[in-house]
Protein backbone atom coordinates (compact mmCIF):
# COMPACT_ATOMS: atom_id res chain seq x y z
CA UNK A 1 0.00 0.00 0.00
CA UNK A 2 2.84 2.37 0.85
CA UNK A 3 4.44 1.48 -2.43
CA UNK A 4 1.31 2.39 -4.33
CA UNK A 5 1.04 5.61 -2.33
CA UNK A 6 4.54 6.63 -3.35
CA UNK A 7 3.99 5.71 -6.97
CA UNK A 8 0.88 7.87 -7.07
CA UNK A 9 2.32 10.87 -5.24
CA UNK A 10 5.52 10.99 -7.27
CA UNK A 11 3.66 10.99 -10.56
CA UNK A 12 1.23 13.57 -9.20
CA UNK A 13 4.07 16.00 -8.82
CA UNK A 14 3.62 17.49 -12.28
CA UNK A 15 5.03 20.78 -13.32
CA UNK A 16 2.68 23.51 -14.38
CA UNK A 17 3.44 26.51 -16.43
CA UNK A 18 2.31 29.06 -18.94
CA UNK A 19 2.89 27.68 -22.40
CA UNK A 20 4.07 30.16 -25.00
CA UNK A 21 5.50 29.90 -28.47
CA UNK A 22 8.40 31.95 -29.70
CA UNK A 23 8.44 33.35 -33.22
CA UNK A 24 10.77 31.74 -35.69
CA UNK A 25 14.27 33.15 -35.88
CA UNK A 26 14.75 35.80 -38.54
CA UNK A 27 16.50 34.71 -41.69
CA UNK A 28 19.99 36.13 -41.55
CA UNK A 29 20.68 36.11 -45.27
CA UNK A 30 17.51 37.85 -46.08
CA UNK A 31 16.81 41.49 -45.64
CA UNK A 32 14.16 41.71 -43.00
CA UNK A 33 10.86 42.60 -44.47
CA UNK A 34 9.50 45.65 -42.83
CA UNK A 35 5.93 44.92 -42.13
CA UNK A 36 3.83 47.98 -41.79
CA UNK A 37 1.04 47.59 -39.35
CA UNK A 38 -1.67 50.15 -39.21
CA UNK A 39 -1.60 51.96 -35.93
CA UNK A 40 -5.21 51.08 -35.22
CA UNK A 41 -4.21 47.43 -35.20
CA UNK A 42 -1.53 47.72 -32.55
CA UNK A 43 -1.93 47.75 -28.85
CA UNK A 44 1.23 48.51 -26.94
CA UNK A 45 1.78 47.05 -23.54
CA UNK A 46 4.93 48.22 -21.88
CA UNK A 47 6.47 47.42 -18.55
CA UNK A 48 8.95 49.79 -17.00
CA UNK A 49 11.73 48.89 -14.60
CA UNK A 50 9.42 49.18 -11.60
CA UNK A 51 7.00 46.74 -13.17
CA UNK A 52 4.43 49.42 -13.89
CA UNK A 53 2.14 48.76 -16.79
CA UNK A 54 1.60 51.28 -19.53
CA UNK A 55 -0.69 50.62 -22.42
CA UNK A 56 -1.61 52.45 -25.56
CA UNK A 57 -3.94 52.07 -28.47
CA UNK A 58 -5.58 54.67 -30.69
CA UNK A 59 -8.08 55.59 -28.05
CA UNK A 60 -6.13 55.47 -24.88
CA UNK A 61 -2.69 55.70 -23.41
CA UNK A 62 -1.84 55.71 -19.76
CA UNK A 63 -0.42 53.78 -16.86
CA UNK A 64 -3.00 51.27 -15.78
CA UNK A 65 -3.46 48.60 -13.17
CA UNK A 66 -3.03 45.02 -14.33
CA UNK A 67 -6.56 44.15 -13.25
CA UNK A 68 -8.13 46.01 -16.17
CA UNK A 69 -5.70 44.70 -18.79
CA UNK A 70 -7.72 41.59 -19.50
CA UNK A 71 -10.96 43.43 -20.24
CA UNK A 72 -9.24 46.02 -22.40
CA UNK A 73 -7.49 43.37 -24.44
CA UNK A 74 -10.75 41.51 -24.90
CA UNK A 75 -12.58 44.64 -26.07
CA UNK A 76 -9.71 45.51 -28.35
CA UNK A 77 -9.48 42.11 -30.01
CA UNK A 78 -13.20 41.63 -30.28
CA UNK A 79 -14.04 45.12 -31.54
CA UNK A 80 -17.71 44.36 -31.51
CA UNK A 81 -18.95 47.67 -32.90
CA UNK A 82 -16.32 47.76 -35.63
CA UNK A 83 -14.97 50.90 -34.08
CA UNK A 84 -12.63 52.75 -36.40
CA UNK A 85 -9.89 53.09 -33.82
CA UNK A 86 -9.69 49.46 -32.94
CA UNK A 87 -8.47 46.64 -35.19
CA UNK A 88 -9.96 46.46 -38.64
CA UNK A 89 -12.22 43.58 -39.50
CA UNK A 90 -11.88 41.34 -42.50
CA UNK A 91 -14.18 38.84 -44.09
CA UNK A 92 -12.66 35.43 -43.70
CA UNK A 93 -13.99 32.03 -44.59
CA UNK A 94 -13.35 29.62 -41.80
CA UNK A 95 -14.29 25.95 -41.95
CA UNK A 96 -17.19 25.14 -39.65
CA UNK A 97 -17.83 28.82 -38.92
CA UNK A 98 -18.48 30.12 -42.42
CA UNK A 99 -18.00 33.76 -43.34
CA UNK A 100 -16.80 35.73 -40.38
CA UNK A 101 -15.59 39.21 -39.66
CA UNK A 102 -12.33 38.76 -37.86
CA UNK A 103 -9.70 41.08 -36.45
CA UNK A 104 -6.83 38.84 -37.41
CA UNK A 105 -4.51 41.74 -38.23
CA UNK A 106 -4.35 42.94 -34.66
CA UNK A 107 -1.05 42.85 -32.80
CA UNK A 108 -0.40 43.16 -29.13
CA UNK A 109 3.10 44.35 -28.62
CA UNK A 110 4.67 43.57 -25.27
CA UNK A 111 7.83 45.42 -24.45
CA UNK A 112 9.88 45.26 -21.32
CA UNK A 113 12.93 46.97 -19.95
CA UNK A 114 15.96 44.91 -19.05
CA UNK A 115 15.34 45.44 -15.38
CA UNK A 116 11.61 44.76 -15.38
CA UNK A 117 10.85 42.17 -12.71
CA UNK A 118 10.04 38.79 -14.22
CA UNK A 119 6.92 38.52 -12.11
CA UNK A 120 5.37 41.62 -13.69
CA UNK A 121 6.06 40.26 -17.14
CA UNK A 122 4.64 36.90 -16.22
CA UNK A 123 1.45 38.43 -14.86
CA UNK A 124 0.98 40.36 -18.11
CA UNK A 125 1.49 37.20 -20.14
CA UNK A 126 -0.96 35.41 -17.89
CA UNK A 127 -3.59 38.12 -18.38
CA UNK A 128 -3.10 38.12 -22.14
CA UNK A 129 -3.50 34.37 -22.35
CA UNK A 130 -6.51 34.63 -20.06
CA UNK A 131 -8.08 37.25 -22.34
CA UNK A 132 -7.65 35.05 -25.40
CA UNK A 133 -8.90 32.01 -23.54
CA UNK A 134 -12.02 33.86 -22.47
CA UNK A 135 -12.67 35.12 -25.99
CA UNK A 136 -12.25 31.65 -27.43
CA UNK A 137 -14.40 30.16 -24.75
CA UNK A 138 -17.19 32.65 -25.45
CA UNK A 139 -17.06 31.91 -29.16
CA UNK A 140 -17.06 28.17 -28.56
CA UNK A 141 -20.14 28.45 -26.41
CA UNK A 142 -21.88 30.66 -28.93
CA UNK A 143 -21.10 28.58 -32.02
CA UNK A 144 -20.84 25.04 -30.73
CA UNK A 145 -22.64 25.20 -27.40
CA UNK A 146 -19.66 23.76 -25.57
CA UNK A 147 -16.69 25.12 -23.72
CA UNK A 148 -13.31 25.36 -25.39
CA UNK A 149 -11.99 22.33 -23.55
CA UNK A 150 -14.75 20.13 -24.95
CA UNK A 151 -14.28 21.03 -28.60
CA UNK A 152 -12.87 18.65 -31.17
CA UNK A 153 -9.54 19.43 -32.79
CA UNK A 154 -11.18 20.79 -35.94
CA UNK A 155 -13.49 23.04 -33.97
CA UNK A 156 -10.60 24.33 -31.89
CA UNK A 157 -8.76 25.09 -35.08
CA UNK A 158 -11.68 27.11 -36.39
CA UNK A 159 -11.92 29.11 -33.19
CA UNK A 160 -8.17 29.66 -33.25
CA UNK A 161 -8.48 31.12 -36.72
CA UNK A 162 -11.21 33.42 -35.50
CA UNK A 163 -9.11 34.67 -32.60
CA UNK A 164 -5.45 34.17 -33.45
CA UNK A 165 -2.98 35.03 -30.71
CA UNK A 166 -0.85 37.82 -32.09
CA UNK A 167 1.47 38.73 -29.31
CA UNK A 168 4.70 40.30 -30.39
CA UNK A 169 7.45 40.49 -27.85
CA UNK A 170 10.19 42.16 -29.80
CA UNK A 171 10.25 45.39 -31.72
CA UNK A 172 6.92 45.31 -33.51
CA UNK A 173 8.31 46.77 -36.70
CA UNK A 174 10.91 44.08 -37.01
CA UNK A 175 9.07 40.95 -36.12
CA UNK A 176 5.35 40.87 -36.46
CA UNK A 177 3.60 38.68 -33.97
CA UNK A 178 3.61 34.99 -34.42
CA UNK A 179 1.29 32.50 -32.87
Amino acid sequence: MLLIFFLVTTSMDTDMGLARRLPQPPDENQEEAQVDIKSRNIMYVRLNSEGQLWMKDETFSDYVDISILRQRVKDFVRNEQNFSKWPEKHVKNIDLLGRCFVTDKHVISVQTARDTPYNAYFQVQNELVAAYNELRNELSKEKFGRTWDNLTTEEKDAVRQYYPQNISEAEPKKYPGEK
Binding site: L2, F6, T10, T14, R21, L22, Y118, N126
Partner: protein
Protein backbone atom coordinates in the same frame (compact mmCIF):
# COMPACT_ATOMS: atom_id res chain seq x y z
CA UNK B 1 11.06 -37.29 16.64
CA UNK B 2 8.70 -37.31 13.71
CA UNK B 3 6.72 -34.51 15.39
CA UNK B 4 9.84 -32.40 15.79
CA UNK B 5 10.66 -32.70 12.12
CA UNK B 6 7.18 -31.60 11.11
CA UNK B 7 7.42 -28.55 13.38
CA UNK B 8 10.72 -27.48 11.75
CA UNK B 9 9.14 -27.62 8.30
CA UNK B 10 6.29 -25.34 9.41
CA UNK B 11 8.76 -22.79 10.74
CA UNK B 12 10.42 -22.62 7.34
CA UNK B 13 7.12 -21.72 5.73
CA UNK B 14 6.54 -18.97 8.27
CA UNK B 15 9.94 -17.46 7.60
CA UNK B 16 9.24 -17.19 3.88
CA UNK B 17 6.03 -15.23 4.34
CA UNK B 18 7.56 -12.85 6.87
CA UNK B 19 10.19 -11.66 4.42
CA UNK B 20 7.53 -10.44 2.05
CA UNK B 21 7.09 -6.99 3.67
CA UNK B 22 10.86 -6.52 3.58
CA UNK B 23 10.85 -7.20 -0.12
CA UNK B 24 8.13 -4.67 -0.66
CA UNK B 25 9.97 -2.13 1.46
CA UNK B 26 13.07 -2.68 -0.64
CA UNK B 27 11.09 -1.89 -3.77
CA UNK B 28 9.53 1.11 -2.05
CA UNK B 29 12.92 2.52 -1.08
CA UNK B 30 14.21 1.82 -4.54
CA UNK B 31 11.41 3.91 -6.01
CA UNK B 32 11.94 6.67 -3.50
CA UNK B 33 15.60 6.84 -4.38
CA UNK B 34 15.04 6.78 -8.11
CA UNK B 35 12.44 9.53 -8.05
CA UNK B 36 14.64 11.85 -6.01
CA UNK B 37 17.78 11.02 -7.96
CA UNK B 38 16.26 12.11 -11.22
CA UNK B 39 16.07 15.74 -10.28
CA UNK B 40 19.12 17.92 -10.54
CA UNK B 41 20.54 19.45 -7.42
CA UNK B 42 19.41 23.01 -7.42
CA UNK B 43 22.07 25.63 -7.19
CA UNK B 44 19.75 28.56 -7.51
CA UNK B 45 16.91 29.65 -5.33
CA UNK B 46 13.66 30.55 -6.93
CA UNK B 47 10.03 31.15 -6.19
CA UNK B 48 8.06 30.82 -9.40
CA UNK B 49 5.33 33.35 -10.11
CA UNK B 50 1.70 32.48 -9.70
CA UNK B 51 -0.73 32.33 -12.56
CA UNK B 52 -4.19 31.20 -13.50
CA UNK B 53 -3.92 30.07 -17.11
CA UNK B 54 -1.52 27.24 -16.55
CA UNK B 55 -1.12 24.07 -18.49
CA UNK B 56 0.39 20.85 -17.32
CA UNK B 57 3.69 19.83 -18.79
CA UNK B 58 3.06 16.74 -20.79
CA UNK B 59 5.62 14.35 -22.22
CA UNK B 60 8.15 14.81 -19.49
CA UNK B 61 10.90 13.24 -21.56
CA UNK B 62 10.68 16.14 -24.01
CA UNK B 63 11.02 18.83 -21.36
CA UNK B 64 14.27 20.50 -20.43
CA UNK B 65 14.53 22.88 -17.54
CA UNK B 66 16.43 26.11 -17.25
CA UNK B 67 16.69 27.50 -13.76
CA UNK B 68 17.18 31.18 -13.16
CA UNK B 69 17.65 32.84 -9.82
CA UNK B 70 20.15 33.89 -7.16
CA UNK B 71 22.55 31.22 -5.81
CA UNK B 72 21.40 29.17 -2.84
CA UNK B 73 22.40 30.27 0.64
CA UNK B 74 25.28 27.78 0.85
CA UNK B 75 26.78 28.99 -2.40
CA UNK B 76 26.19 32.65 -1.83
CA UNK B 77 29.54 33.19 -0.14
CA UNK B 78 31.40 32.02 -3.22
CA UNK B 79 29.10 33.08 -5.99
CA UNK B 80 27.59 36.33 -4.76
CA UNK B 81 23.92 37.09 -4.90
CA UNK B 82 23.55 38.06 -8.54
CA UNK B 83 21.13 36.19 -10.77
CA UNK B 84 22.53 33.00 -12.22
CA UNK B 85 21.37 30.59 -14.87
CA UNK B 86 21.60 26.90 -14.10
CA UNK B 87 21.71 24.25 -16.79
CA UNK B 88 21.85 20.66 -15.56
CA UNK B 89 24.17 20.75 -12.58
CA UNK B 90 26.17 23.88 -13.11
CA UNK B 91 25.98 27.59 -13.63
CA UNK B 92 26.08 28.77 -17.20
CA UNK B 93 26.11 31.82 -19.39
CA UNK B 94 23.13 32.63 -21.62
CA UNK B 95 25.04 31.69 -24.75
CA UNK B 96 25.64 28.17 -23.43
CA UNK B 97 21.92 27.58 -23.64
CA UNK B 98 22.32 26.79 -27.31
CA UNK B 99 24.61 23.82 -26.64
CA UNK B 100 22.35 22.72 -23.83
CA UNK B 101 19.33 22.73 -26.12
CA UNK B 102 21.22 20.75 -28.75
CA UNK B 103 22.41 18.23 -26.17
CA UNK B 104 18.93 17.80 -24.78
CA UNK B 105 17.56 17.36 -28.26
CA UNK B 106 19.84 14.37 -28.85
CA UNK B 107 17.91 11.16 -28.64
CA UNK B 108 14.52 12.76 -28.65
CA UNK B 109 12.05 10.86 -30.76
CA UNK B 110 10.34 13.91 -32.12
CA UNK B 111 12.47 17.01 -32.03
CA UNK B 112 9.55 19.30 -32.66
CA UNK B 113 8.07 18.27 -29.34
CA UNK B 114 10.90 19.75 -27.36
CA UNK B 115 9.69 22.09 -24.65
CA UNK B 116 11.94 24.36 -22.63
CA UNK B 117 10.61 25.14 -19.21
CA UNK B 118 12.00 28.27 -17.63
CA UNK B 119 11.91 28.10 -13.87
CA UNK B 120 12.78 31.61 -12.91
CA UNK B 121 12.52 33.51 -9.69
CA UNK B 122 9.82 36.14 -9.48
CA UNK B 123 12.30 38.93 -8.90
CA UNK B 124 14.62 38.09 -11.76
CA UNK B 125 15.21 40.96 -14.09
CA UNK B 126 13.72 40.51 -17.53
CA UNK B 127 17.10 41.04 -19.21
CA UNK B 128 18.17 37.51 -18.30
CA UNK B 129 14.93 36.04 -19.58
CA UNK B 130 15.13 38.04 -22.79
CA UNK B 131 18.68 36.83 -23.38
CA UNK B 132 17.63 33.22 -22.87
CA UNK B 133 14.64 33.67 -25.13
CA UNK B 134 16.77 35.16 -27.87
CA UNK B 135 19.17 32.21 -27.73
CA UNK B 136 16.31 29.72 -27.66
CA UNK B 137 14.85 31.36 -30.68
CA UNK B 138 18.13 31.09 -32.55
CA UNK B 139 18.42 27.43 -31.67
CA UNK B 140 14.90 26.73 -32.85
CA UNK B 141 13.56 25.70 -29.49
CA UNK B 142 10.37 27.62 -29.89
CA UNK B 143 8.08 25.91 -27.45
CA UNK B 144 8.46 27.58 -24.15
CA UNK B 145 6.90 27.15 -20.78
CA UNK B 146 7.13 29.67 -17.98
CA UNK B 147 6.98 27.54 -14.90
CA UNK B 148 4.50 28.76 -12.33
CA UNK B 149 2.29 27.66 -9.50
CA UNK B 150 -1.45 27.91 -9.43
CA UNK B 151 -3.01 30.93 -7.82
CA UNK B 152 -6.14 30.29 -5.85
Amino acid sequence: MAGFKRKEGREMVEMNTSSLPDLIFTILFFFMMVTTMREVTLKVKFVVPQGTELEKLEKKSAVSFIYVGPPTDQLRAQMGSGTRIQLNDRYAEPKEVMDFVAAERQGMVNEGDQVISIKADQHTQMGYITDIKEVLRKSWALRLNYSASRRN
